[in-house]
């Protein structure tokens, strides 16, 4: 039984998504494809079926872009991560959608992703674009692992949580997918290079000069180079006014929800550790093999197996929680920040336009023409960004709803499955306990 249990947990950890996918496909064909693919996180399997799925997945945002449906060029998978000294290297597998035979395999590290992000932001007009957020750099040092363990399991449990390469892979893969499926960023040259050229981009040369300033320049680029926009600056457009109001609120709530949700996950892990300790303590039991001890030890052994089952169940739940709803909450707590930045950029344009309009009124006759030209330019810019932003926002929210639906469904599914498995194992254990021979020979 033990081996089976272990196997189950391995399955759950390694192929969780895959597992959920196949389950969905088997039981609810009707909307399974849509659900699994919106998220598209990790259909790791190489089966032909999966390959067929993926194009659809990236094509899903299509209906939300009525003007010109965007066809993403690639599908991306982050298949593996390996630690090479202090550097974690991620293996990427990319396929062209149009011709499936074209497949690229490249190895990248986190700094390459940062460079990619930099390029995307600086080489595109990102005014009205919600730039997919790059996940924070995964910590690889022993100290950070320890700190993380403490945060997760509390100070009184002396266990170190291992590296979470898989989680990082998933986050990065999601990032790449968001970029690839983005109508504008997806056509960018740097992403194509990033995915297809074997050699990593100029990272080596530019490393120093760039990275000292990278975060700063990124921050500025994101905010559109402006500072000090009054927070409650009224908007000319009702749609954006509302959007701005809600996003500020929601992004905070989303962060809080994510924090609290992770607390649940950690709580589950902690209870699992508690159960495991108890189970071990039961196992260590009495060494005295006589009289009532024999029976009690038998009871304890069986009991400890039951607890072990319960623990496995909880661990599976914790992993699933983190991979489903936890993943989406995490993604959107960052993604909403990106939305905020985009709206900020637009608000800046709006202010520029307003300023230019005022300038026209104030302008002296001889300078009037210049002022009007400036105003027209600002107006055009503002209208462009508003148009792009509106489209982007609609798409964004549509995707957001789909993502949450998917993760909620998978979350509930995974919960049910884990609870049932645990229930089945517990039932077995209770049966064993009840039939256990409590007969003993007193001394």
């Amino acid at each position: 039984m033990r081996s089976v249990v272990l196997y189950r947990s391995v399955i759950a950890q390694e192929g969780e998504d895959q597992d959920v996918t196949s389950r969905l496909t088997s039981s609810k064909m009707d909307n399974a494809t849509d659900e699994t693919n919106t998220n598209g996180t990790a259909d790791v399997s190489d089966s032909p079926e999966a390959d067929q799925d993926t194009p659809e997945s990236s094509g899903l945002p299509e209906p939300t872009l009525p003007p010109k449906p965007f066809e993403p060029v690639f599908t991306v998978k982050v298949t593996d991560a390996a630690k090479d000294g202090e550097v974690v290297k991620y293996s990427l597998k990319t396929a062209k959608i149009k011709s499936e035979s074209e497949e690229y395999k490249v190895v990248r590290q986190y700094e390459d992703f940062e460079w990619l992000e930099h390029c995307l932001i600086t080489q595109n007009d990102i005014g009205g674009i919600i730039v997919p957020p790059l996940p924070p750099k995964p910590s690889t040092t022993a100290q950070s692992a320890e700190a993380r363990s403490k945060k997760q399991l509390g100070n009184d449990i002396k266990l170190v949580v291992g590296d979470e390469f898989e989680k990082d892979c998933r986050s990065l893969e999601k990032y790449l997918q968001l970029v690839v499926t983005h109508p504008i960023l997806g056509q960018d040259e740097s992403i194509t290079k990033f995915l297809t050229v074997r050699e990593a981009p100029t990272r080596a040369k530019l490393k120093k000069s760039i990275f000292s300033n990278l975060s700063k320049s990124l921050g500025e680029a994101r905010k559109g180079g402006h500072k000090m926009v009054p927070k409650n600056m009224p908007d000319v457009n009702e749609f954006f006014q509302k959007e701005r109001d809600t996003v500020n609120e929601v992004s905070l709530q989303m962060k809080e929800a994510k924090e609290n949700y992770m607390k649940i996950v950690y709580g589950e892990q902690r209870v699992a550790v508690g159960l495991s300790h108890l189970s071990t303590a039961l196992h260590l039991g009495g060494q005295l093999q006589e009289g009532a001890d024999v029976v009690v030890n038998k009871l304890f052994t069986q009991f400890s197996e039951g607890l072990e089952d319960a623990k496995q169940g909880l661990e599976v739940m914790a992993v699933n929680d983190e991979n489903t709803l936890g993943f989406s909450l995490d993604l959107y707590s960052r993604y909403l920040e990106a939305e905020k930045e985009m709206l900020y950029r637009r608000t800046c344009k709006m202010m520029e336009f307003e300023a230019a309009t005022k300038a026209v009124e104030k302008a002296k006759p001889q300078k009037r023409q210049m002022a009007e030209a400036a105003r027209d330019k600002a107006e055009k810019e503002f209208e462009d960004i508003s148009k792009a932003a509106e489209k982007e926002l609609k798409n964004f929210h549509h995707q957001r709803v789909l993502t949450f639906q998917d993760s909620l469904v998978r979350h509930a599914d995974a919960k049910i499955k884990a609870a049932r498995d645990t229930y089945a194992l517990l039932t077995k254990c209770v049966t064993a306990l009840k039939t256990l021979d409590t007969n003993f020979k007193p001394l």
Partner: protein
Amino acid sequence: MADDREPPPLFDDEKPDKKEDEDDLFATPNEAPKEEIKDEPASLPTEPAQDKASEDLFAADDDLFGEAVKEVDTSKLRRKLTEDVDDLSPPLTPLEEPKPLIPTPADSSKAPPKKEPPKEKVKKYSQAKEPKPLIPTQADSSKAPKKDASENKNPPPKEEAKKKEDSQTKEAKPSKKEPASMAKEQPPLKPMKVSVDLHPPKPGEGEEVDLDSPETEGPSSPAKMEPDSDSSPLEAPPMAEVLPPAKPVIEEKPKPTPAPRKPSMEKSKEEIEEEESGDQFALDIKVHDPGKIGDGMGAYMSYKVTTQTSIPAFRRPSMTVTRRFSDFLGLHEKLSQKHTHIGRIVPPAPEKSVVGMTKIKMSKEDTSSTEFVEKRRALLERFLQRISLHPVLQMDPDFRDFLEQDELPRATSTSAVSGAGVLRLIKGVGDTFSKVTIKMDESDQWFEEKQNQVEALDQQLKKLHASVEALVTYRKELGISTSAFAKSTAMLSNSEEHTALSRALSQLAEVEEKIELVHLEQADNDFFLLSELLKDYIGIIQAIRVVFHERVKSFHNWQNAQQNLAKKREQEAKFKQTGKTDKIAQAQEEIREWEGKVEKGREDFEEISKTIRTEIRRFETNRVKDFRNIIIKYMETLMNSQQQLIKYWEGFLPEAKAIA
């Protein structure tokens, strides 16, 4: 697992039969009493019967509920599991392993006819009334099922048997005829069972849950319950007379027999002398309605103690008194003064908690203090129940007074008593340690082993207790986090513009709130079942140490007496040598006196050793029983938690799917 759940209805009918197979084994040696009891069934007291009836109702409810719930799960679960078989193998095991269970009951259902052959044998033996047949019987009865199973599917004998029994007994429940008859056939078991079923009400409930699950254990419970109702108090006396002759028979018998009832058999064997007067009576004690009396530092908690009993020594079958905490301590004090020094293990007194009590005194009904009160109430209840389970202590006049006197003579300055009690206990423990390390020349290997065993047990239980306490804390934290997330989700839902998503989120918030309760409930179960059990046993082990120490003291008394005797003898010899004849007479007088003391010391020592042995056996029997019951019950709470999770998430799933 899905499958083993399906058959309950079918199974139900078979349970009694299967039970019978087991019971026949038991019944055989006890034939003798059977006849006597058959004459008496009419004299059953009504009250237990009523109790029984209500219990049955209750059980039935449980059944319905359990089955309904499981029904739902089962279908889905099975689908689930079969699906799983396709894509991943793990759930396979749960699915497959239970399967064999079904054959098992099926086999046993074929077996019932076997009842006939053993019965005949039984009669022979009862005429012969000799212990020898035992082994043959067993062999026969073990063969019997196979033979019958292969020979026949012949229901007729079974039905005849039923009819016979029907006419003998006026059992109302047709489906449970056999168990009823069983009750008649194996009376010696009854008194013991009474103790099992009636005293700790919780285990009782646990057993009823068994009915739901068709596991092999299931069968035993109806049978167990049934006999109690008709058998207990009045049938018992005759048995007490009969038992001694039957005793040698029982002595050998139980060991090879199947599991669950074993402990009670064991008990009957070991403590027959004591229990014949005790355990066959029901004594059910509840502590309830804690209330705060007074204000400020003078305030104290009072508890209602309600007793239901069939013991004739009590003035009424049912009574309720009001007691305060120090009364319980006083009771413990009185009991341990009387019994500890002769080697009886008196259940440990509940701990006095200054902190908890001060909180109560100062605060007005906050949650932490209600939790404290509930904890203490349960503790006091278990304390009384443990006493009531003890064949000698349950008959103690002080205990009886405690249960039935309206006004208890205020224990000599109760606060002093409790304080002193604790002090004495601490002192006693210290003594135990010093004496154990000094170590008397242990002539008795049994005691040496037991002492080591008890120490090891103490260590183990303390470790376990610490683990469980940690678990409780984690579980509560998980509950708190879940509640926090529920709140966040509710807020998200409020600001969500997408209607369906918003609705799903608010549903999620509700689900998480319910799950918080599941976690908290489970934390309570962790605590009240596991943690408290372990704590109780740690306390009992303390009491055992005290008792061991008493034995050492007794040994020293004896040894001292012997030394003194030797001295006196030397003296006498000196007197004789020196010719001081005048003193010889006095010396001889002293020698006689000391000889008496030595003899008394030896007797005391032997007596206490014997009592302790009995007590330890009792302790072990109870330990196995308690731990088994609690573990099973606890596992069932875990299962229940999972079931609730399944229920809540299944309720949520459609909502999530409906989002887009």
